[in-house]
Every structure is written in structure tokens, then in C-alpha cells.
């Protein structure tokens, strides 16, 4: 891991996420909270390494909503705050995000959200978190590369300080996990910080009827930002001209291109491939948009090509804006590039050619044979404890049992050789949905004289603490009769071994009293509770699964065995 606190060199190859950390350090960040999730995980991992040395407060919070709330509290005390999460994290955090825009930030606050078009490391959905820019009215910047990751985070802290509003930085996998040489500024740590909570209920308490005034104030604040946004250098018109070595560039085509984020880089590459000279409006701000600049840009054009990944938000906005200044403008967006899946230079080149009415010949060959190595549980010794766990489940459970998955390494049991799950949706949802299945089957009239199917849900230690507990409370209280197996490998494993309250380490790496999950489970009135090491007591695990399933009660087995990779790391 790079030493992001050092001031040794002026240029350093940085990962997008490292550049975000560096930008925050150069801006003098004081308080950082996160919940790990790819492709945002390295932000937290880097702060985990350096926070103590730098004197920054850092925590892996129990979930993204709690992480945001921690930052809101620190911002109310005047601290400079950064919160980082993956796309689905903002769904969880949104309940507190919306009112935070009403109160505004006191200490400058930046929220980093990393989307994952093409779902390289995400289950559940191909989310476009830009929807939250509109929903929460949160000003949003979209960097294209590592340099912009660093620069935009610094800029976001400045804007947040100026307008007293949190700012969102939205990245995608190809930005967060891109590397390039980045020009560095200076960092100065450790730095003592002064925090003070000054009471101001008019500002910090969102309650009717005041909350309605706050809504109006927020809208006025966003409108007041427009002057600043129009002048901002991060929204720029670039007249892309290829150097003369390229022959016969397309003459005056009266076409312009509008884009943002990593799509900008794909666009330049596509223009190179097709040898197209054209003006490009590169947007740094996704929300609010620089409408006057867009009007000026599109007014003289015949055609506009909009390059954006996933949903056509820019396209819809520009269709609206064009009505007043250039109603005849031909707009090409999702009609020529796909809405699902990430973009790349080839997809953009095909779209660009279509918009121009040109032919673009495919210069590559798709192989007639393809193979896929599916991800699976780690092998080697000490081995992944999930091999034994799922073997026991398969041995003990009736053939028609229903299996509910959740988010973590154990998702991989959806693939062969296990092919286990009957449903798998979002963080903490396994037990919640299993409960609904149980109740529906309980209420059903008997069919074909078959006994009721058994329902088993799985959840990891970190996911259980993140959002599994409310689902288990609900299942116990409403007498679902499901079996929940908590896979306690004592770490948040899939995202790279971040500690959680069950790990016995705090977020600064110091020893802590590990939270015993069985104490929580018993306090929820679960009667059948067993803690079993699946490697040491395999037969006992098989017997207990059978016993608990037959009891008809909502039961919990905590399969406690350390992650094999972590055990290896600790030995080394």
C-alpha cells in the first residue's frame, strides 16, 4: 500500500480510490467514516492504515447509514468530513441523506459513491446512483480519472465550505480502479482539530412546519449555486482536433458531443479511432447542470451525441433544454449506445459512427469458444470455512428446503459446485425474505399432502450487524420458524478483511472486546441457539441443522471459524 501521507514525490501512480484519499488529505480532512464495498473499499482501507499516524478520526461503521450519520454529527461540530460507500450503500444511507441536504453541512462534507456498471463486483442491480443527485438535491461531481479524483475531492470540500451543502463524488469501477500518474500537492499531518457543537435547532432539527421552509431554502441554495457552476472550469468545452499526422479528418460536421466521467475518456478514444474532430462538452458537474453553457454549446449544432453510462439522465435534461434554443437538434444517445452494461471505446465508436451515418468496420474477432472461471471459495490451507459449512447444509437439509442468500463471500455458493440459493437480493435481506416465505407457506392451505418446506437463510457476521438484526427480530417476534445460519468468520472478508465489531479490533487496528453474536441472538428471544466450529465439529453441525429444522421454531446456528485467508495472513 502506498504511503499517501508522504510528500516525497510530485508525481505518483495512484489508483482512483487512492487519489480520492490523497485529495481528502490535501484538503485537510479530519473525520472519515465508511462501510466497505467494492469498488469503494480501498478508500477505507487506506484511511485504516494512516488515520492513527495522521491524527484523523476514522471508522468502519456498522452500515452506510450509520457512517453518514457519524459524519453528519461531526460536520455539525464543524469538522471536515469524508464518507465513502459503494452504490448500494447510498440506498441504505438515503434516509438520512435527504434531510442532511435540508440542514446543510457545517463542516465541509464530501460523500463518495462508487457505482459498478457491468456489475464486476456487485450482485443485486446495475445501479446508477446519479438518481440520488435529483432525489436528494445533492450537488454531484463525476471525475474521469485518478487526477480528477484527487482534484475534484479538493474542489468538493471548497464548494461544500462555500455553500454549506454536502457534495457527492460519483465514481464508477473504471474510475475507482484506474491507475495513472497523479500530480500531488502538499499534505500536512498530524493536525490538531477543534470541534464545537453550537446549538442551532432552527438549522439542525427537521420538523414540520420548519421542514417546509428548509425545502424551499434548499431549492434556493441550488439555484444560487448555478452562477458558480456556470463559471466552473470543470465543465469545459474542448475542441478536439487530431494532430495533422492523421489524414482527412471529418470536415465541419456541425456535431457536438456531451459526456462526463470515464465515458469522456472512451469518447476521446473513439474519436481517435474514427478520426473525428468535434467540440466536446465535458461535464464535471452532473448536478446541477450548467444550463447556460449547455445552451450556448448546442445552439449552433445540427447533431448532438450524448455519451453516458446506464440511464439517460443527461439526455433527458438536454432534450428539455434544446426545446428553447435549438428545437431541431438531432440528439443521439441511448438510440445508438446501450443503456445496460458499462461503456468502452468500441461501444462509443459504434455509436458515434451511427450518429454520423458512417460505417464502422469491426476490427476484432469474437472467439467461437469461451470459458469462464467462476469465482469460488478459497482453497489451500487454512481453508475457507464455507466449504465444510455448505457440505453440512447439503447433507442435513431436506431436498425441497428453500435457501436464502445474502451479501458476502458466501454468495459464491450460488455458483457450482453448490448452486444453492433460491433467492439472493440485498444486504441483510436473506432472513427478511425467508420470513415472508415462511409466513406465506404457514398460511397456505395444505397442498398434495406435502409437509411444509423448510426455510434456511444465511448471513455473514458483518452483514448480520449491518442490517440482518431487524430482520431476525421480525422473524422471531412474528414466529416465522426459519433457520438462520450466521457465518461468523470474524471479519468483513470479501471486501478485503476490514474489522467489524465481531472481530476484536477497532477501526484504528487496536484491540477491542469482540461482540459475541450469540449474546445478541439470545437477547432477541431466539430459543434454539448453537455456536459450532464447522471444521472441528462437523457431525454436530449436521445434527443441529436437522434438530433445529424439525423444531419448527425460529432458530440460529452461528458457524464460527476464522476466514482461511485471514488465518494465513495472521500467521505470516
Amino acid at each position: 500500500m502506498k504511503d499517501l501521507l508522504s510528500n516525497l514525490s510530485k508525481n505518483e501512480i495512484l489508483l482512483g480510490n487512492e487519489a480520492i484519499v490523497r485529495g481528502a488529505l490535501e484538503a485537510g480532512v479530519q473525520f472519515v467514516s465508511t462501510y466497505p464495498g467494492t469498488p469503494a473499499s480501498e478508500i477505507g482501507n487506506n484511511f485504516y492504515q494512516i488515520a492513527k499516524k495522521a491524527g484523523i478520526y476514522f471508522e468502519f461503521s456498522t452500515n452506510e447509514k450509520v457512517a453518514l450519520e457519524a459524519a453528519i454529527g461531526a460536520s455539525f461540530c464543524g469538522l471536515k468530513c469524508l464518507v465513502a460507500m459503494k452504490n448500494f450503500g447510498i440506498n441504505v444511507a438515503s434516509d438520512s441523506l435527504l434531510p442532511f441536504l435540508y440542514t446543510g453541512s457545517k463542516g465541509p462534507t464530501v460523500l463518495v459513491v462508487a457505482d459498478d456498471p457491468s456489475c464486476h463486483s456487485s450482485a443485486q442491480s446495475e445501479e446508477n446512483s446519479r438518481a440520488f443527485s435529483y432525489l436528494a438535491h445533492i450537488p454531484t461531481l463525476e471525475p474521469s480519472d485518478s487526477q480528477e479524483c484527487k482534484d475534484f475531492v479538493k474542489l468538493a470540500f471548497q464548494i461544500s465550505a462555500k455553500f454549506k451543502t454536502p457534495i457527492m463524488i460519483r465514481t464508477t469501477t473504471r474510475v475507482a480502479h484506474q491507475k495513472m500518474p497523479v500530480q500531488l500537492g502538499l499534505v500536512k499531518y498530524p493536525k490538531p482539530f477543534k470541534a464545537k457543537f453550537v446549538k442551532n435547532p432552527k438549522r439542525f432539527v427537521t420538523i414540520a412546519p420548519r421542514v417546509l421552509e428548509m425545502h424551499q431554502e434548499l431549492l434556493e441554495k441550488i439555484a444560487a449555486m448555478s452562477n458558480y457552476i456556470e463559471k466552473s472550469a470543470v465543465n469545459k468545452i474542448i475542441n478536439v482536433k487530431w494532430q495533422t499526422s492523421q489524414k482527412n479528418p471529418t470536415p465541419n460536421i456541425k456535431m457536438g458531443i456531451m459526456t462526463s466521467g470515464v465515458a469522456f475518456l472512451h469518447t476521446i478514444e473513439a474519436m481517435k479511432m474514427l478520426n473525428i474532430n468535434a467540440p466536446v462538452l465535458k461535464l464535471g458537474f452532473f448536478y446541477p447542470l450548467p444550463e447556460a453553457k449547455i445552451k450556448k454549446f448546442i445552439k449552433p449544432l445540427k447533431k448532438l451525441f450524448i455519451v453516458e453510462e446506464l440511464d439517460p439522465y443527461l439526455e433527458k435534461e438536454v432534450e428539455r433544454i434544446a426545446k428553447s434554443v435549438n428545437p431541431k437538434l438531432q440528439i443521439f444517445g441511448k438510440s445508438v449506445i446501450a443503456q445496460a452494461g458499462e461503456l468502452n471505446p468500441d461501444i462509443v465508436a459504434f455509436g458515434l459512427a451511427k450518429a454520423l451515418g458512417k460505417n464502422y468496420r469491426q476490427a476484432f474477432v469474437e472467439p467461437s469458444k469461451k470459458i469462464t472461471h467462476l469465482p469460488r471459495f478459497c482453497t489451500g490451507w487454512p481453508t475457507c470455512p464455507y466449504w465444510k459449512l455448505f457440505a453440512a447444509v447439503k447433507q442435513a437439509a431436506p431436498k425441497d428446503a428453500i435457501f436464502g442468500g445474502d451479501i458476502g463471500c458466501y454468495m459464491l455458493a450460488a455458483f457450482p459446485p453448490h448452486s444453492l440459493y433460491d433467492f439472493l437480493l440485498s444486504m441483510g435481506s436473506g432472513a427478511g425474505i425467508a420470513h415472508g416465505v415462511c409466513k406465506a407457506l404457514q398460511k397456505s392451505v395444505p397442498q398434495d399432502n406435502q409437509p411444509k418446506q423448510k426455510v434456511i437463510a444465511f448471513v455473514g457476521d458483518s452483514t448480520f450487524l449491518h442490517s440482518g438484526i431487524p430482520a431476525l427480530i421480525n422473524a422471531v417476534y412474528n414466529q416465522a420458524g426459519l433457520l438462520l445460519i450466521i457465518l461468523d468468520n470474524q471479519i468483513t472478508a470479501m471486501t478485503g478483511h476490514q474489522p467489524n465489531p465481531a472481530s476484536g479490533k477497532n477501526s484504528l487496528g487496536e484491540d477491542n472486546i469482540p461482540l459475541k453474536l450469540e449474546n445478541i441472538v439470545r437477547a432477541l428471544n431466539v430459543k434454539n441457539v448453537a455456536v459450532i466450529d464447522q471444521e472441528e465439529n462437523y457431525n454436530q453441525l449436521v445434527a443441529t441443522i436437522k434438530e433445529f429444522l424439525n423444531s419448527g421454531e425460529t432458530s440460529v446456528i452461528i458457524a464460527r471459524r476464522i476466514c482461511g485467508l485471514l488465518a494465513k495472513k495472521q500467521k505470516a
Binding site: P39, S41, P181, W242, E269, A363, V365, L412, T495
Partner: protein, 208 residues
């Protein structure tokens, strides 16, 4: 160098693809090139198919004018299809997943090493005949086996492939010296000696 150099490393998660990417990026940067890379983390780390992209080129055109873009510079972090100069396949079946990036001039350096897929598998002969539909420039050696025999450890097979590629001139304009420097920069001190030896082993395999 009058074009961008494009490279793909294909393999399965856990084979050290990102370490190789870091070494090549560091070497290219050390030699004064502009570099962009793209990698994947998370799910794909757990033994799944994965490929990473490395591109480097001249920083800017010689007579830089405002808004003038240079065809030798690197913009996107992803290699366009059919534009790879070099493809390293750390597992031979994974060559197929990188084939869309190849053209008639693309070099393949392939580790004759197989990881089961838990599904359909293909033989090396099938892989080779697929590649030969596009390019004849294939070097296939059992790098993992060589490393196991000579170094009693097959983990640094990718580093040996790097040594082999640079010896064969496939990484031009990247030099041996730049890679040696980069290995020292990127690899943790306790693993450095093993990786240095693997690099030398690759070079000697390239001489033969």
C-alpha cells in the same frame, strides 16, 4: 515510439495480475511514458476469470497546441478491441477471454498451466487453434512448472513471463532495467529475492 502500447493480462483471481500490472506501470512511468491501467477487485479475486488493461504512450504531441489531441497519447484506461500489442495469459484457457483484443500482429505469451473451471473446459490445442485464426505469434511455455522446478515455488510464474517477454523484445520500448527497478519498487522486501530470480529465469527461457 509512434503509437500507444496496449497490453492485456488475463488469468484467474489470485494469480497476481495486479502485481504484474503495477510492475509494468511503474517501469513505463520510470521511462517517462504516460500510463493508464484498469483493474478489477472484489468478487473476481476469488478464483474467477479476470483481465486487466495496461496502456502507455507519449505524454503529449511535440508541438502541443490548445485542444490538439495526440494519437500517441493514452486516454481511455481500457484497451480497445483488436488493439492489443501483447497479451499475457497466466492460465491458458483465459487466452480465449482476451482474444477480442487481438489482431494479426498481437503477441501471445501463454503459461501452459490450467485451472479447472467447474464447468466446460478446453484443451490447449483448442485454445491454440482459436488464437491462430487471428495471429501466429504465440509463445507457450510451462512457466509455472519451470518456477516450481527451479525455485520450488510456482507463484511468481507471471514475473517469469515478464522476463521472457522483455527478453523476446515483446514489451518494447520497456527495458529490462526498468522492470528490474519496478520489481524492487513494487514487491514486498521479503518476497523480492524470489521474484528477482523468477524474472531472471524468464529471461533465460527467452534466450533459449
Amino acid at each position: 515510439m509512434n503509437k500507444t502500447f496496449n497490453m492485456i493480462i488475463a488469468g484467474v483471481g489470485g494469480q497476481g495480475l495486479i502485481t504484474l500490472l503495477d510492475i509494468i506501470a511503474c517501469a513505463a512511468f520510470w521511462q517517462g511514458f504516460d500510463v493508464k491501467t484498469s483493474e478489477l477487485h472484489g468478487l473476481s479475486q476469488r478464483g474467477g476469470s479476470v483481465n486487466v488493461h495496461i496502456r502507455f504512450g507519449k505524454k503529449s504531441c511535440s508541438a502541443q497546441q490548445k485542444d490538439t489531441f495526440c494519437s500517441t497519447a493514452v486516454y481511455a484506461p481500457i484497451v480497445p478491441k483488436g488493439k492489443a500489442d501483447l497479451i499475457l495469459a497466466l492460465e491458458f484457457q483465459e487466452s480465449l477471454n482476451a482474444l477480442v483484443f487481438a489482431n494479426a500482429y498481437t503477441f501471445f505469451v501463454i503459461n501452459n498451466y490450467q485451472t479447472p473451471t467447474l464447468g466446460e473446459s478446453v484443451s490447449y490445442q483448442e485454445v491454440e487453434s482459436e488464437i491462430k485464426k487471428i495471429t501466429e505469434k504465440i509463445f507457450t511455455l510451462p512457466f509455472s512448472q519451470h518456477c516450481q522446478q527451479k525455485l520450488q515455488n510456482d507463484i511468481p510464474a507471471g514475473i517469469a513471463m515478464l522476463g521472457f517477454a522483455v527478453q523476446k523484445g515483446l514489451l518494447a520500448p520497456i527495458t529490462k532495467e526498468a522492470l528490474e527497478y519496478a520489481i524492487q519498487e513494487v514487491i514486498a522486501p521479503k518476497h523480492y529475492e524470489l521474484n528477482k530470480q523468477a524474472f531472471q529465469l524468464g529471461i533465460s527461457l527467452g534466450v533459449q
